[in-house]
């Protein structure tokens, strides 16, 4: 049974949660932030930057060195709620859960409640409906007229809305997408030359992987204190679009060409991860496409490869029109 909350009560509801939780939500500059004032939330648009930094903070300390001793650092265990993630971002958390297994991540994850919101305004880059997404949330808010109808996905979520009244009807809505990627069977097309036309335009800038909510690859590096006695071992993001990603001592890069790197991105999302985990690693949020300076659209390439009818494909192209 869903719960209901009047839209004009939302800010108060969030404010109340603040006494027990840190609240993270989308704000005006296109990213998620810890908010102090709910009126700063911007729920109407998908963020440019995903919320992954709250699970994998850049440069986080994994272990510390004190003289000859190594010490495990204990990650913050603040209780927090991330509000305003859409279906794509919620699914991205599920994918991160399947990849990252260290204590820091697990502890942050355990202390985070996912309070998602139904996506009313997908844009021309969104293709989440093509990615077989699941329901993955503690709470999910469906806006309808002047109310939110709230679906409960877990015990943790249930507690948060215990005081809210039950809904008299159930509101479940389906996200409308303009863009579609119906057939993703590209494994056999790995060597198809069409990928070269994408890769030739690629700048190896890594904007796609930085902004992708499911790109979690990283590097580990040490830092030494100025007195050389203490230090830390840290983790930072790495991008498969850079040569250094696969480079070993002596300088050999196993993915030396932009083509190899570009295909690594697409095939990891669509083929490799699926082989291992039974689902796509891409959640169709479109962030990689929005962020790409030369506007490479690999979903378009997939559609061409899998024989989407020409006139459908044209309609499907990002440049064509808005939803």
């Amino acid at each position: 049974m869903q719960k209901v909350l009047k839209k004009k009560e939302l800010n108060n509801f969030i404010k109340e949660l603040m006494s027990n939780y840190e609240i993270i939500a989308p704000v005006k500059n296109g990213k998620f932030e810890i908010i102090k004032d709910p009126s700063n939330m911007e729920l109407g648009k998908i963020t440019i930057v995903p919320a992954k930094e709250f699970f994998l903070p850049e440069g986080e300390t994994l272990i510390e060195f004190k003289g000859k001793k190594v010490i495990k650092t204990h990650p913050e265990n603040k209780k927090r709620i991330i509000f305003g993630m859409r279906k794509c971002d919620l699914n991205a958390v599920k994918i991160m859960d399947s990849i990252i297994k260290d204590e820091n991540y697990l502890s942050r994850r355990k202390n985070t409640i996912l309070m998602g919101i139904f996506c009313e305004h997908p844009d021309e880059y969104c293709f989440c409906n093509s990615m077989e997404l699941e329901d993955y949330y503690d709470l999910l808010f469906y806006p309808e007229d002047d109310k939110y109808y709230i679906s409960v996905g877990s015990e943790k979520g249930k507690k948060l809305v215990a005081k809210l009244p039950e809904a008299k009807k159930e509101i479940i809505r389906i996200i409308k997408n303009f863009k579609r990627v119906p057939d993703k069977s590209i494994e056999k097309h790995y060597r198809n030359k069409i990928w070269e036309s994408d890769a030739n335009r690629c700048l190896s800038c890594a904007a796609c992987t930085i902004n992708c909510p499911t790109c979690t690859c990283f590097e580990i590096y040490d830092e030494l204190s100025p007195d050389l006695k203490n230090g830390t071992r840290k983790r930072g993001a790495a991008s498969c679009q850079l040569k250094s990603f696969s480079t070993v001592a002596g300088g050999k890069a196993f993915r030396n060409s932009r083509l190899a790197r570009f295909k690594q991105f697409v095939y990891h999302k669509i083929v490799y991860y699926k082989k291992r985990n039974g689902r796509y690693m891409c959640v169709g949020c479109g962030r990689c496409l929005r962020a790409c300076p030369p506007k490479i659209d690999w979903t378009d390439t997939i559609n061409i490869l899998t024989g989407m009818k020409n006139h459908d494909a044209k309609r499907n192209r990002v440049s064509a029109k808005k939803v």
């Binding site: 000859k68 190594v70 890769a199 990283f218 050389l228 230090g231 696969s246 993915r255 083509l259 490799y272």
Partner: protein, 272 residues
């Protein structure tokens, strides 16, 4: 079944001895009871400097041998350590040589520091000699000064059929690449399984020679190397298409890994 290690906290161990092998390779013996399985690797580090994956070069419950090439930032610092110094290790990680190949004749081939994982397997075989058939071991080094683990090789000569060859001509030694020697020797490979470790170019050439003797790719195993950070399937750095070298390998049956390597190589060959 070993529990899957997913933490980054290394343990501190004592370096028992350090032996210089060549100008840029040393053998470090570390007192440790972690006893990696043959073919597994460990993450070795110096706090504040860095970490790197290194093969276990022994099969012993009281120590781990590391055959270290001075190759970059971290390895050059480890290279400076002496007996009595401390070193930090986490692991072991990865799937080593398939021990279910017991009962077969074994052909081993190693080039350069590729001798490290192969040594862990040889020591396993020494301790379990009855479980294996005929053992033939090929070693290849650049020249006489680059021969690694000479003492061990001399000792193994008494027990196994050892075939050592040098790239450069040198009196008293066979000359040529391992693949050439294998083709010349023409060993009977009917009941054999082969394990190879070395540069990929070398592994490819050896595989081709073994194929020409009638050995199928599903009887040939490669021990592979890729850029690594975590060692246990989290950082994504070591993949070859859908496969994680750290977790699914580093030892792979060649028929399994071949199409993946070839696809990525094909993508690398494009003109830019």
């Amino acid at each position: 079944m070993m529990q899957k290690e997913t933490g980054y906290l290394p343990k501190r161990y004592n370096i028992k001895s350090v032996k210089e092998m060549t100008s840029d390779v040393k053998l470090l013996r570390v007192s440790s009871k972690i006893n990696p399985l043959p073919g597994q690797f460990i993450e070795v580090s110096i706090p504040g400097i860095g970490e790197c994956p290194l093969a276990s070069c022994s099969f012993n419950k009281d120590y781990v041998d590391i055959l270290l090439r001075n190759a970059g930032n971290t390895t050059s610092e480890i290279f400076k350590l002496k007996a009595g110094d401390k070193i930090y290790i986490r692991g072991p990680y990865g799937k080593g040589f398939p021990l279910e190949t017991c009962g077969k004749d074994i052909l081993l081939a190693a080039g350069g520091t590729g001798i490290a994982p192969v040594t862990s397997f040889i020591e396993y075989i020494e301790k379990n000699r009855k479980k294996f058939g005929k053992i033939t071991i090929y070693f290849g080094f650049r020249n006489k000064d680059y021969i690694l683990l000479k003492d061990k090789i001399l000792m193994w000569k008494k027990k196994f059929n050892i075939r050592l060859t040098l790239d450069q001509k040198s009196p008293g030694y066979l000359n040529g690449f391992i693949n050439q020697l294998i083709e010349k020797d023409h060993p009977n490979v009917e009941n054999s399984v082969a394990f190879i470790c070395g540069p990929e170019i070398m592994m490819k050439a050896i595989t081709k020679s073994l194929n020409s003797l009638g050995m199928k790719n599903n009887k040939i195993f490669w021990s592979m190397e890729r850029r690594m950070e975590c060692g246990f399937g989290n950082c994504g750095r070591c993949t070859i298409q859908d496969v994680y070298v750290c977790e699914n390998g580093p030892v792979f049956r060649y028929d399994f890994i071949k199409p993946r390597i070839e696809n990525e190589e094909h993508a690398n060959e494009v003109k830019e």
